[in-house]
């Protein structure tokens, strides 16, 4: 049965919350709390995601098949068995890559317009 499944492009642009969650899952499956900590680390603490935004986004990402629940559980001694783990689907990985390319292209445009001159000179010091 042929269904109208959206192409990866249809998901773009991603909301900042979805992009951050997908970025957190890019290096492997994580549970909700793990995602929250990873987002905080990846953004140097500038983004603190609340549980409402986190699970609201997770719900929509599951529906869009960008992520899926993982059946695998780590050793029960190491973690709480009630936790749900999430990982990127193949489609999710493609969407994340496309969004990263889109953002990189925007950054390149900003750089070409010398908007990042201060940042570049600041980081080289």
């Amino acid at each position: 049965m042929a269904e109208n499944t959206p192409s990866p492009q249809d998901h773009l642009p991603l909301t900042p919350a979805v992009f951050n969650i997908m970025l957190a899952l890019a290096d492997g499956e994580k549970h909700g709390y793990g995602i929250m900590l990873d987002v905080e680390n990846n953004t140097s603490g500038t983004v603190q995601m609340g549980p409402g935004t986190l699970y609201g986004s997770i719900k929509r990402m599951l529906k869009a098949a960008l992520i899926e629940e993982s059946d695998e559980r780590p050793d029960s001694d190491l973690d709480d068995q009630r936790r749900r783990y999430y990982r990127l689907t193949g489609s999710g990985q493609r969407v994340l890559r496309l969004e990263a390319e889109r953002l990189a292209s925007q950054v390149a445009t900003a750089r070409a317009k010398n908007l990042l001159a201060d940042l570049v000179s600041g980081s080289s010091q």
């Binding site: 909700g32 995601m49 609340g50 549980p51 409402g52 699970y55 609201g56 190491l78 009630r82 749900r84």
Partner: protein, 281 residues
């Protein structure tokens, strides 16, 4: 492991408060995610409090509260937008019936000769009835439009859309007027809603008569919307008449009741229609 750290009293209180807040989410979302949200909130709250102290906990709570308010609204709105056509029409039909009843009661309790007197209690009830009415009519008109959109002409389509928009404008105006206690906003807003809602029903009736898409009482929207408008206009024209009151004045004054009955019947017709559609499918 963070979960293994001892709870402090303040963290436990935070968890209890957050559990209460979680009850505000839609039921399906709550059943699926509330335990996980509570667990994540608990873990993060313990971490923040034990590693960074009370000031950080207060900051986290501020962030959490805004996150909660935003996401609870989003989840409820999504529930509405994801509602099936049939569910929405059913909701709209009830809203229109309730709008008719509310208008009927609102009309009875208002005015100098109110049957309920002028105590503060009834005044509050009256204010509530007036403010809630535009929302009920907006929902009902949106449902009517959704049900008959494919059959109605551009006049009916435009009339209902304009009816929805002006009802919402009237609602916001009345709400602002009551909150800010400015009577000068309330009455014009009520009149905007009232006139546009009646005009929308009259135009819908005209369109429905022409195209014959209403399953029953086809001529009633035109009568229920059109006659009260004519009566109101007549009242305005005859306001400063030199010959005093006439025997038809009480009839003219009660014309909005006809509109209330019309709204109720339209809601009832819509409900019956959607029930029929659901049965046949």
């Amino acid at each position: 492991m963070i979960s293994g750290l001892p709870d402090t009293r303040i963290v436990n209180i935070s968890l209890r408060v957050y559990r209460v807040l979680l009850a505000s989410y839609p039921q399906s979302f709550r059943q699926e995610y509330a335990p996980h949200m509570l667990q994540v909130f608990g873990d993060y709250t313990r971490r923040v409090y034990q590693q960074r102290g009370l000031a950080s906990l207060i900051w986290w709570w501020t962030l959490t509260f805004f996150d909660f308010a935003n996401s609870v609204l989003e989840e409820h709105l999504q529930g509405i937008t994801n509602m099936t056509k049939e569910k929405f029409i059913r909701l709209g039909s009830w809203a229109l019936m309730l709008g008719g009843i509310t208008l009927f009661i609102g009309f009875l309790v208002s005015g100098e000769s109110s049957a309920f007197g002028r105590s503060a209690f009834y005044r509050n009830i009256e204010d509530f009835l007036w403010v809630s009415m535009p929302i009920l009519f907006a929902t009902g008109y949106a449902a009517l439009r959704r049900q008959y959109r494919d059959k109605m002409g551009s006049l009916g389509n435009f009339a209902l859309l304009a009816g929805v928009i002006t009802s919402l404008v009237g609602f916001l105006g009345m709400l602002a007027g009551f909150i800010l206690n400015i009577e000068d906003i309330v009455w014009p807003s009520l009149m905007i809603f009232f006139m546009s809602a009646m005009l929308a029903m009259a135009l819908l009736g005209f369109d429905a008569l022409k195209r014959g898409y209403l399953p029953r009482w086809g001529s009633f929207p035109l009568i229920a919307g059109g006659l009260p408008i004519l009566a109101l206009m007549l009242q305005l024209i005859l306001e400063d008449r030199p010959w005093g009151n006439t025997p038809i004045d009480p009839i003219i004054e009660r014309m909005p009741l006809l509109f209330a009955i019309g709204a109720f019947l339209m809601g009832f017709m819509l409900l019956e229609d959607i029930k029929g559609v659901e049965k046949s499918s």
